[in-house]
């Protein structure tokens, strides 16, 4: 077992990244009812067949079906879907050029991660309601996926969250007015909103700077650490494992041939799986209450 893991860690970056992309496609079940069965079948086939990940037809079909999803649901707001289609296309191009595959996925992985985080940071800076904290106030009070986290760290109760949701619903296109507060008057909640707003922006800007920094520079050498820090902190709270796994697959494509970094990325894949399957904030809320 140890020897098998050791051998796997020394495989080509294209093989490792392709494997992790295929596993994340199986775990995440992307696409709509037309494309999902095909994406699942092709991914499973690629993993089951010997050297299936090297087959250009596999990556061509995955590029087609992941792109089909974007085109069929155009204009799609889910940025993960665009990145997945682009990454499948990169793997297809790499599979067509086996001699340059490692370079193709390495360079593209690094630049695309950098651009994704740069554009996400610019979008936050330009947004009308991000920097003033409105976005996270709204998110923490209306998105049920974050309610355990909000209760745990924002010193608000589930009742206060549901009351805020009720009040917001009553305001929709009506002359409704009340003197009740929608936003709970909790210092911890406001602190949570402020920290989330600035951490999210600074963390993503840092990843962008590290991945787009000149090769060999100090920031460039810290890029894997910055991406891992982003994934560990973000996916503990945001339940969007598919994007995390895709970033790990891309990270593995561009990292140096360094066993420790590869182990760290692979561990991160399973940490995100753990976050996704084990609802740690729910367990903590139940434990405390």
């Amino acid at each position: 077992m140890v020897k098998a893991i050791h051998n796997y860690l020394h495989k080509d970056a294209f093989e490792i990244s392709a494997h992790f992309t295929l596993v994340s496609l199986l775990f995440n079940q992307v696409g709509n009812s037309f494309s999902r069965p095909f994406i699942l079948c092709i991914s499973a086939l690629a993993l089951l067949l010997a050297n299936g990940f090297k087959q250009r037809l596999i990556w061509l079909m995955l590029t087609f079906f992941t792109s089909f999803r974007v085109i069929h649901e155009w204009p799609m707001a889910d940025n993960h879907a665009y990145l997945l289609a682009l990454w499948c296309l990169t793997l297809f191009i790499a599979s067509c050029n086996p001699a340059k595959a490692r370079m193709i996925i390495g360079d593209n992985g690094r630049v695309v991660i950098g651009l994704v985080f740069l554009l996400a940071s610019v979008q936050k800076l330009m947004s009308a309601d991000y920097l003033d904290g409105t976005f996270f106030q709204y998110l923490f009070l209306t998105d049920n996926r974050f309610e355990d986290f909000t209760v745990l760290f924002g010193n608000v109760s589930f009742q206060q969250i549901y009351q805020a949701q009720d009040l917001l619903n009553q305001y929709q296109f009506s002359s409704f007015s009340t003197d009740k507060n929608i936003v709970p008057s909790s210092l911890e909640f406001h602190l949570l909103v402020t920290i989330s707003t600035w951490w999210n922006l600074i963390d993503q800007l840092a990843v962008a700077c590290c991945f787009l920094a000149p090769v060999g520079s100090y920031l460039h050498r810290k890029r894997d650490f910055s991406l891992m820090l982003f994934c560990i902190t973000t996916y503990a709270v945001a339940p969007v494992a598919g994007f995390g796994w895709l970033l790990v697959s891309m990270g593995l494509a561009q990292c140096e041939h360094n066993t420790k970094i590869r182990i760290a990325y692979m561990s991160l894949f399973f940490i995100i799986l753990f976050y996704y399957e084990v609802h740690i904030w729910r367990i903590l809320v139940d434990f405390i209450h």
Partner: protein, 100 residues
């Protein structure tokens, strides 16, 4: 990645029956038009307004609808930064004549 409250679910499509350019009643959008409505909420341009208008026209003609025109409006929601009290802003609208 997370950056704004202005996304699909915070946008609303309102359809009204018109007579002499006066709003007479609100018309519900049938569930079967959810895909066209989703597109319009994401990208409220004139093409997507016209696409929903044509779907609505067919639907209203079949249901023997009484008013000669209808209006489609797309609204966005902005939340007050301290109180989160929502206010609504018109993004785009289209008046459409019902051809019988």
């Amino acid at each position: 990645m997370f950056s704004t409250t202005d996304y699909g679910p915070s946008r609303y499509i309102m359809v009204y029956g018109l007579e002499d350019n006066i709003i007479k009643e609100q018309i519900e959008i049938p569930e079967s038009f959810s895909n066209v409505a989703r597109k319009l909420r994401s990208l409220p341009n004139i093409n997507n307004l016209q696409e929903l208008a044509l779907e609505m026209e067919n639907y209203l003609r079949l249901s023997q609808y009484g008013f000669p025109h209808f209006r489609i409006e797309v609204w966005s929601t902005r939340y007050h930064k301290k109180t989160l009290i929502p206010s609504f802003y018109l993004l785009n609208k289209l008046d459409h004549k019902l051809v019988r």
